[in-house]
Amino acid sequence: MTEITVLIEQAQKGDRKASEALFAALYDELKRLARYQVNGSNAPMQATSLVHEAYCKLARAATLTINDRQHFYATAARVMRQVVLDAVRARDAQRRGGEFQMVALDTLVLHGAAADQPGEDVLAMDAALSELEQRDADLARLVELRFYGGLELSEISALTDRSESSLKRDWRRARAFLYARISEDRRENSKGTPQ
């Protein structure tokens, strides 16, 4: 039994110290999620700020409702998703309120592996994922854990008791659905954009 599982059990029994330790563990996990694979640059600072927001959001939530280890990671990933979404919306609202109008919401600069690609739209990604949730909750959860949660497929496999090959197949389905939706969203947006 992992430390987190023990903490969850103790917290559910009313152990206040376990509850605090669980909360601290969740905070550490959020930090890990936001920092993973970062090399140099100022990304860690930004990530830490976002984690802080995630923590504040969690502080207002009922942490004790977390009932197992999978739920713990799913909660952390969901919070990160929401924090990133809120941050993008706030930034875009701020820009729209400035002296120039933003034509599209896809100005996010991507780095690293996707450096040669045009900026992807975090909002379109979130909308597509919400649509996937309606179609297939398991696929959507996998995307949350891997993309927003930063877990490797091997970690998700251990967490969910599913084989990696099965998760790979699901990831390919989810990826295809999401990219298809994002492409469709872009085509729709470009129709309404003056050339």
Binding site: A24, S49, A59, V84, A114
Partner: protein, 88 residues
């Protein structure tokens, strides 16, 4: 199981079945099926095209993704040092 679930199962089944086929054979089957199930074929064709695309947002990492985002707030009741941790 609702109608939308049945349809999603059909999308996934067709996507999986066509995924590993050679392009020409894949197109041939899609064209045949498009006669009777154009919407299903359109959705699966879009997913097959998306499967072949270059790496995008899903291939980057959250930390790199958020580099361009200004946090909404900076100060507050974060945990900080263990002794100063906010009381949940």
């Amino acid at each position: 199981m609702t109608a939308s679930h049945v349809r999603w199962e059909a999308v996934i089944a067709l996507f999986d079945a066509l995924l590993e086929l050679p392009e020409a054979e894949r197109q041939r089957r899609l064209e045949v099926m498009a006669v009777t199930a154009p919407e299903l074929v359109a959705e699966v064709a879009a997913m097959l095209a998306a499967d072949q695309r270059e790496p995008g947002i899903l291939e980057t990492t959250l930390a790199l993704l958020v580099m361009d985002i200004e946090p909404i707030s900076h100060a507050g009741d974060g945990p900080g040092e263990p002794d100063s941790k906010a009381d949940p």
